[in-house]
């Protein structure tokens, strides 16, 4: 398990858990309402350079720009890109 901000580009992952950051407890709900819900598949599509922050993330068929700090609330596991299986 690792957090989404550490994923490789174009790596399919599955969301396991959403953390509640101490400095911004509302982020947990906000992320879920956008569709970052345990069980959903996500993929990192791009990173802003230089700095690598923010990120472009695909969840379901929507795309969102997330800050690294936001993506760090999303805990994921690797899936196989070809089969979509764990």
């Amino acid at each position: 398990m690792f957090t989404l901000d550490r994923s490789d580009d174009f790596q399919l992952c599955r969301i396991e858990r959403i953390h509640t950051p101490e400095h911004a407890p509302e982020w947990h709900d906000w992320l879920q309402e956008l569709g970052f819900i345990p069980g959903e598949k996500v993929m990192l599509m791009a990173r802003a350079r230089p700095g690598g922050d923010p990120l472009v993330v695909r969840v379901g068929s929507s795309t969102f720009a997330l800050r690294c700090a936001e993506a760090a609330c999303i805990e994921v596991t690797l899936l196989d890109n070809a089969t979509g299986a764990a």
Binding site: H23, A24, E26, W27, D29, W30, L31, Q32, E33, L34, G35, I37, P38, G39, E40, K41, M45, A46, A48, R49, P50, G51, D53, P54, V56, R58, G60, S61, S62, T63, F64, A65, L66, R67, A69, E70
Partner: protein, 644 residues
Amino acid sequence: MSACHDSVRRDHAQSAVVHVHRGGPLVALVGNPNCGKTALFNVLTGSRQKVANYAGVTVERKEGRYLTAAGKALRVLDLPGTYSLNPRSPDEQVTVDVLMGRARGEKRPDRVVCVVDATNLRRNLRLVLAVKRLGLPCVVALNMTDLAARRGIHVDVDKLSLELGVPVVKTVAVRKDGATALRTLLDAPAEAWRGDAVHTPAPETDAPAVTVEADHDTVQRILVSLGLDVHAPHTLSDRIDRVVLHPVIGMVLLMVVLFLMFQAVFGWAEAPMGWIESATTWVADGVTAALPNGWMRSLLVDGVIAGAGVVLVFLPQILILFFFILILEESGYLPRAAFMLDRLMGSVGLSGRSFIPLLSSFACAIPGIMAARTIASPRDRLVTIMIAPLMTCSARLPVYALLIGAFIPKRDVAGVFELQGLVLFGLYVAGVISAMGIAWLAKRLTTRGLPRPLMMELPTYHWPTPRNIAIGLWQRASIFLKRVGGIILALTVVMWFLASFPAPPAGATGPAIEYSLAGTLGRGLATIFEPIGFNWQISVALVPGMAAREVAVSALGTVYALSASGDDTAQALTPLIAHSWSLATALSLLTWFVFAPQCLSTLATVKRETGGWKMPLVMAGYLFGLAWLACFIVYHLAVAAGWG
């Protein structure tokens, strides 16, 4: 922080007051951002509200009327998009307040049309479930079915309707006949809209009793039963994004786009501006020939035609600017640009979220300030509001264009650039840089270094349809013409009176205007403005500019037309100022309008959006100080350089 948030909440409730019509059931359009609510609203009511391809276009409630085929009159409410009933920003709050029956000056809707983006059912349907729980009769408008079909998503509406327990109809909001099925439903009695709960009182609390996860499971189950449980990402959008979001190519592209925009404003506008100019001269000559010399002729020629004419000339440039803005808005590029610039904006304590409100301010600061409602962080929202007037609004374009035309020679730089376009670009950049400076200062004074939320949707790209662009341009043109024919003309006439009366005493030698009210006022103001190089004519022209900035130009037109001895008419304002002002004065005046601290309607909007007089006063004060100081520096540097 919390006080600030409270004021924001209290305030948008006030600001959103919509005129209350007596009769007619109220139908609200509710849905995720960017699912096509406003497009649908426009199709139903024949309105022309702003539609664009990014989340957060609509930030206040708008009302329209719709007469069903059976002759039933309905009031239709367009609302800001929201991801949930748990609002994260002031615009989402507007929608939730309406649904809960808490909006000031508006009753709770009698029915709700849940607008759903068919290409993104997974996210959109969750909101439908939440709205359904509110107990209001509702139907689902499955929108963007044209795009869904193209991507191989075919939804069985009958089955979906059965699963959801509410009627579902397909719509294509961008087609004239795209809402036929919905129109039929609007004629049906409320009972057909799952009418068992018509009179359910508004729930006491908006805390969702059912979790997002539970709703997600329900949606998942529905999608599986419809055979839609596969993701169909828009691969073309992904391919475009590989270029647009590329760290190097994307950045270069952004610069090229912005730069082209400013070059085009000067490059393409020349011919049409020439036509308008000749037309005004022709009219002025005709009137001069037709009327006997007297005050009536002076009012028409020196006041109305000289004043309105010099502003009218800038219509082509304004339309070119909006042509670019409309294409950027419709294509879905804007949130990408915000993404690219997030880091840069972070360095001055803002986020990419402020980008679209600030970009909108290039049209006019008022919609920009309104758009700041989409910013979740109250601090960022306030800073964005405060720096929005530093983005050069289109009303300043005539002033810039007049001065650049008069003082900057037309020539090529390095073979590819046009000097006048470069200077214009420089002025816009000057505004942006000072805005960043102010934001940076605010960061030094207030920020606590916590990461601020971004969470910004990047929509799939759409082709801008020529029809939408044409409608957008037509709207801009009519807004501009209404301004010219309304406030600008009125102020110009007032200006003519002030500049013509009282008439000079017998035996006076100078031009009559020097004895008039305007002359006296101008000489008084000149004591403040002389140190920054403004003569009395400029000083007096700045006053009506507070109500509409373009009037600064038309007022100069009137003042100089009346100052002129003999019969040379006012169409020649450009050469006139070119030979009577020094370059230092012109540069100083250009600088003044970079900060242009005196737009009354902007200040009124700031008061409304921040809920008090404090912020507008701070804004007016700091902009005035900044403008004066910057002009002082520019003027004296220019004089020292020998341009005095």
